[in-house]
Assembly symmetry: C2
Homo-oligomer: 495 residues x 2
């Protein structure tokens, strides 16, 4: 019997058995990208990790509603309550309407999710799509006395909240420490306390993104959107909330405070956080020049990269570590992952073609026991907080047995039809549907056509007409005709 799914809960700092609120339904919310620039690789690792979580929960039979938002307003430059709105700033720099910026980078993000073979979430709501609800939650917090208005902006009163609740419980921070270490307030400040955060910001006249509200023209604070959209689509309490570790504080801490303040209960049962990327052991960051975009990885067009690495190589590489570990990029590791990915995908092609045949070999209880143990381990490693790293190792163990069957070293009858089918479906399910790796075209089909035409030319030169006819027929079956022109041999699409 395979043990139950356990999830490391960042809130309790423990691995816990996963028990959804209303099985078989599972509600999962993941903080999506702020669409003011190309999504970076660390973000993609987060979304890819939760794509695997989404797929595995469905594999286990849960009916999952997966909500991943698009942040298209409210995220300020310094991730706190100061500086310009990230999207408004980019719009100003590029002389575009903010929603053009949003469209451009949302499209780019969606393209990447397809390239990485990820599923769409069930709902992908945006912050600007929920202004009414954000105004209402702000009003509710004002009504409860947990927020105050200054100059048309509304702030959450953290100290007051903390009297009855624990602000800092997710990130393990202490409110006194935070108050001491924060910037000292001046008489210019609108906040009562440096740890208070904005629910609604008054818009200066030049701020492009603006809506009317009971407090004047403004825009919502960054943290508010996720509380509003999580509640709207998943309820006041839901099962899983995920995001990058960099969002744990202040973003997720503030989400908890907003929901507890408004509804009186904790919004999330299991908090999950993905870890950061490093390059050759050093934290990736734009300022160090050691971070790269997915597109740079795919083209190899970056000083730190020896060569291009394909999307599936990059995906395999990321899945080879557990989502909660830091992940170190290096050319050596990527090259090793390419080998690993190709090996795994060759296994997939192979196992899909294999059919059980009685070959009269003798039943081998030992090998049957080994295979069943590996199959069980595939499940138990995923059940161990979605440990894709361990799962990949187990799949390679399974592949060894598959290869033995293929080469005839191991007989089909020795393991029997039932075990064979279980082995086959486990390998296919885990590789194709859970890790979601897929075959990549090794080259443009046109290169293949050119290669065949080259063979055709040579055969023609040698007057090997039997072969000439065969190649011509083979190409024609693929919709391509070979033309003997005065100027030489050409190919074209059959008209």
């Amino acid at each position: 019997m395979v043990e139950k799914l356990r999830i490391y809960n960042s809130l309790t700092k423990k691995k816990e058995v996963f028990e959804p609120l209303e099985p078989p339904f599972v509600g999962m919310y993941v903080c999506g990208p702020t669409v003011y620039s190309d999504v970076h690789l660390g973000n993609m690792r987060t979304f890819m990790s939760f794509d695997v979580v989404y797929r595995y929960l469905q594999y286990l039979g849960y009916k999952v509603r997966y909500v991943r938002n698009i942040t298209d307003v409210g995220h300020l430059e310094n991730d706190e309550d100061e500086g310009e709105d990230k999207i408004s700033k980019k719009a100003r720099l590029e002389h575009l309407e903010p929603m053009e910026i949003v469209q451009k980078y949302t499209n780019g993000f969606h393209d990447l999710t397809k390239i990485f073979n990820m599923l769409s979430p069930d709902i992908e709501p945006s912050a600007t799509g929920h202004i009414v609800e954000q105004i209402e939650m702000t009003q509710a917090l004002l009504n409860k006395g947990l927020a105050y208005e200054t100059n048309g902006s509304v702030y959450f009163d953290v100290a007051k909240y903390n009297k009855d609740h624990n602000y800092g419980k997710l990130s393990g921070r202490n409110i006194e420490d935070m108050m001491e270490s924060g910037r000292a307030l001046t008489s210019q400040d609108e906040k009562h306390n440096n740890i208070d955060f904005a629910l609604w910001k008054s818009a200066s006249p030049e701020h492009i993104m603006r809506w009317n509200s009971p407090w004047g023209v403004g825009f919502p604070g960054w943290h508010l959107e996720c509380s509003v959209m999580g509640t709207k689509y998943l309820g006041k309490t839901f099962d899983i909330h995920g995001g990058g570790l960099d969002l744990q504080f202040p973003h997720h801490e503030c989400e908890i405070a907003q929901s507890v303040g408004t509804y009186g209960n904790d919004p999330v049962r299991y908090w999950m956080h993905t870890n950061m990327l490093t390059m050759n052991g050093q934290k990736m960051s734009k300022s160090l020049g050691n971070s790269f975009l997915p597109s740079e990885l795919f083209t190899g067009n970056h000083p730190l990269l020896d060569e291009p690495y394909s999307p599936m190589t990059a995906k395999f590489f990321m899945l080879q570590s557990h989502y909660s570990s830091t992940l170190d990029f290096s050319n050596e590791a990527l090259k090793a992952s390419r080998k690993g990915y190709k090996k795994m995908i060759n296994g997939l092609r192979l196992v899909k073609q294999m059919e059980f045949v009685e070959d009269g070999t003798e039943r081998g209880e030992a090998v049957v026991g080994q295979i069943e143990k590996i199959i069980k381990a595939c499940h138990s490693s995923m059940n161990d907080d979605f440990n894709t790293a361990l799962t990949i190792g187990q799949l390679f163990n399974l592949l060894k047995k598959i290869n033995s069957l293929h080469t005839g070293q191991l007989g089909f009858s020795a393991i029997g039809k039932e075990v064979f089918e279980k082995m086959k479906s486990t390998y296919i399910d885990f590789v194709e549907n859970i890790l979601a790796l897929k075959e990549e075209n090794p080259s443009d089909y046109k290169e293949m056509v050119e290669a065949m035409v080259a063979i055709y030319k040579e055969a023609k030169f040698r007057k090997d007409f039997e072969r000439v006819d065969k190649i011509r027929a083979g190409l024609k079956a693929n919709g391509i005709i070979v033309k003997d022109m005065k100027s030489g041999i050409e190919w074209a699409y059959e008209e």
Copy 2:
């Protein structure tokens, strides 16, 4: 000198020279899909037509802001003010949250736009994303006395509006006729007049999509979103508004009334409408069973279709008629379009490879004159209200000259480098960037690999080792290795 771009304006019923309000900027709004089911072929024809408009305006040097919305609330079943909200109804039937319906069919629509090689609009706003603005426009119309509230719903007062303005000017209808022909009102009715339309609808307790408003809980009327989003992103007056002919009344007529009522001016300078589809001469409709989805066209999986037709064949077929004509589908016409598409795309491959070489042929003023005339005609046919049908004919004329050059019937020096380059760039620009046709993979690359492996096997059987080595090297260059197994010859990705 090529004549100026002229557009048939549905409002004035005339072809007019296109003069944008603030050149070089052009604002264009197109009514997007209501995402409660798979987008049908007629919709796709509309969006494809405006994709060509968008591309051609950019080709002419305009800086276009193209807005195409997503209708995700407010569109009622009977396209008027009665019946259930289309998305809410589907959500109820499928036991899903309405925004899950929205996500599913928006994804499907986006996939189709990629399959048809269409550009993304610059902004793709949604109705639910603009609730605040819709409430505000409703309030403005109430303030002007052009709307009234009944039982928490707000209706536009058409008769009152018509005293100073002309309701019906776009669709060519007369208000008295409309009032007479409409359903007689009963004492149960909330409307003062049968031609009034909803700006805001009160939500019954079981209605899932609902927002607070000054008039109670409800949702916006269908026509309002386009007025709001057009104004927000393109201004109170903008250049082009497009959509299917079925939207002309009431949807676009109501848009005009809302904007004129609120801002006192006509919102749109050029109204453009695409025409309907027929099948074998009969109007396509679900009830007649003679309509099909794009996916059915691509798979051939429909009783009226002989075989599958590829996306580019379908696109070429649609572009072969003018957007304002009805378009008749038939197997014969689709087969002819496949031939035409392949011919055009073979021309594209050919001309891209051609380079000018001085071949010493004598300058032929007559042929130069012919070519220049065709090039001019490519432009003037597009300038004639985006007549893609005529343009395709001219491109085939140009292709004849290109083919003559290729076969040597026409000498390069006879036309000179300058004319050659103009001919080449015109053909490429029009086919690839304006009509936006692209090469389609004639087959899966794997079939090509299999074909090459078959030749390899045969060569090996004949012990033709020189060829065996060549094929092996050719495949390896494409990342594929051939393996000689006991059980036969296999291929795999190089690990």
